[in-house]
């Protein structure tokens, strides 16, 4: 039985390139509509609020709070088994955007809903993925 053990890259669209270029530079960019002033996540070709194509990018503070999380101990794809246990979370950025991410650099049992976290970038093949870690007190 052969499993594909290649860790997946994000399947990038032309209009989300800037996001991934930013993570390589240690920056978390959020798409922004210059017409209706909405923050947009995930990045789109046109603003999902007003369908404007007049879009730009703003750098986020990287500060967020945990909305919810789940720590995986088993039954993930074979390609991720070597990383167990790991914690997947939804985090709410200060800018009002929600991301899926990993919570790292802490014990799973110390993670709580509402915990302040900050972005930190981890490599995945040629990409840098935005993970989050607890803000040091």
């Amino acid at each position: 039985m052969e499993f594909d053990m290649t860790k997946p890259n994000p399947e990038v669209q032309p209009w989300s390139m800037k996001f991934w270029e930013g993570t390589k530079e240690g920056k978390l960019f959020i798409q922004f509509c210059k017409d209706c002033k909405s923050y947009i996540f995930y990045p789109r070709k046109f603003c999902p609020e007003c369908w404007s194509g007049n879009l730009g990018w703003k750098q986020a503070s990287g500060k967020a709070t945990i909305y919810t999380f789940s720590t995986a101990y088993d039954m993930v794809e074979p390609k991720f088994m070597d990383e167990l246990p790991y914690t997947i979370a939804y985090v709410d950025l200060e800018e009002g955007i929600r991301l899926m991410t990993r919570i790292v650099e802490c014990k799973p049992e110390d993670i709580e809903i509402g915990m302040p976290v900050e972005v930190v970038f981890y490599p995945r093949n040629d990409f840098m993925l935005p993970y989050f870690r607890p803000v040091k007190k």
């Binding site: 999380f69 789940s70 720590t71 088993d74 039954m75 997947i88």
Partner: protein
Amino acid sequence: MSRGKIAIIGIGEVPTASMPDRTQWDILYDTCMEAVRDSGLHKNDIEGAICVSPQAQPKITAELSFGKLPEELGLKGCRDTVVCNAGGASTSNCLRLAEQWIENGTAQAVLIPHVTVHSTVPIPDLINFFAQAGVDLQWEYPFGSTYNIIMGLMAKRYMHETGCTPEEMASVVTALRSWAAKDPHSIFYGKEVPSVEKVMQSSLLNTPLHKRESNVLADGGCAMVVVSAAEAKKMKRPAAYKLGESVRYFSGTPLMRDFHKVVEGFYLTGKESLAQAGITKDDVSLWNIYLAYSLAHPLMAEALEVAPLGQGGKYFAQGRMSFGGDIPWSTIGDAVGRGHTGSGVSAALYVETARQLMGKAGERQVKDCRYVFQNTAGGSGFNNIATVWGRDF
């Protein structure tokens, strides 16, 4: 949309199990022939065949999509056939399309079959399919997300907001399995019903989901015959009449799914479908709820006002939704109790809705079953379709 326009008049089903020795066509023959015989119609009376799309099985999906079913079964009167795919909501869309075909004269009687044989799909393909289906390949999949984890994220937030305890969550499995143990079509038929302690003692897959709170992939198949409500009435046979429907779309990407919008969607679709049927929640004899995972059942019970806010878990823990309880709930035990057949759990639930209204549910028969509320959800929960069915109209 549809008060009293169509009715299910025939059902057929094979027990959900691991059946690697049976091909999909072998199962399709049995379920379709049983459903047509149960309807009292002749095979050549079937004028349309609308197939539930099998998930993770590209060959049978292609064969069905390219029109093989009527030819294989010798449905000489068939005018058209098609496959519908909306994941777990596929069967609801088959029924909607059947209603349209019956209304516009395309077909007077429509056959709706489902088949899934997971046991012969190579395990790497199965794992890969379920890892990627319904998960965003840019913003979720690379982080190592899975269906189990997505359900864990939702359950964790629900428990945080309501104070629902892990024991109460585990009791949902006990309730669902209590129905499954009495269901000859369930993979857990006749098996011991796990106690709350046993569920809690099973290994943790991802917080807060224990192994016994997850699903066993299985093989299965079922079929229904649908005609107009007027025709069903004329035939004077047991039938399940569709009385109401309401739907809300949430999001295609689980990350984009606002928790409160989902709860509101459950609430509104429940209200609207019942209003369309001209009944209230107090008239409902059976709540046939399809959510694939046990963890969302307390939330649904609260959204439907079957349990007060924050009390959904307690209702399950008190055994009120269990076999013998005062609130008949998911009488096939949802996917946790039935075994997970991809898009087939919701198909099996429609068959169960009809079975209950026809008075053919055996030991699980809900007393004086007049109205059944049934929901389905597509993908990893992109929508919620609420329907109401009655034994008369």
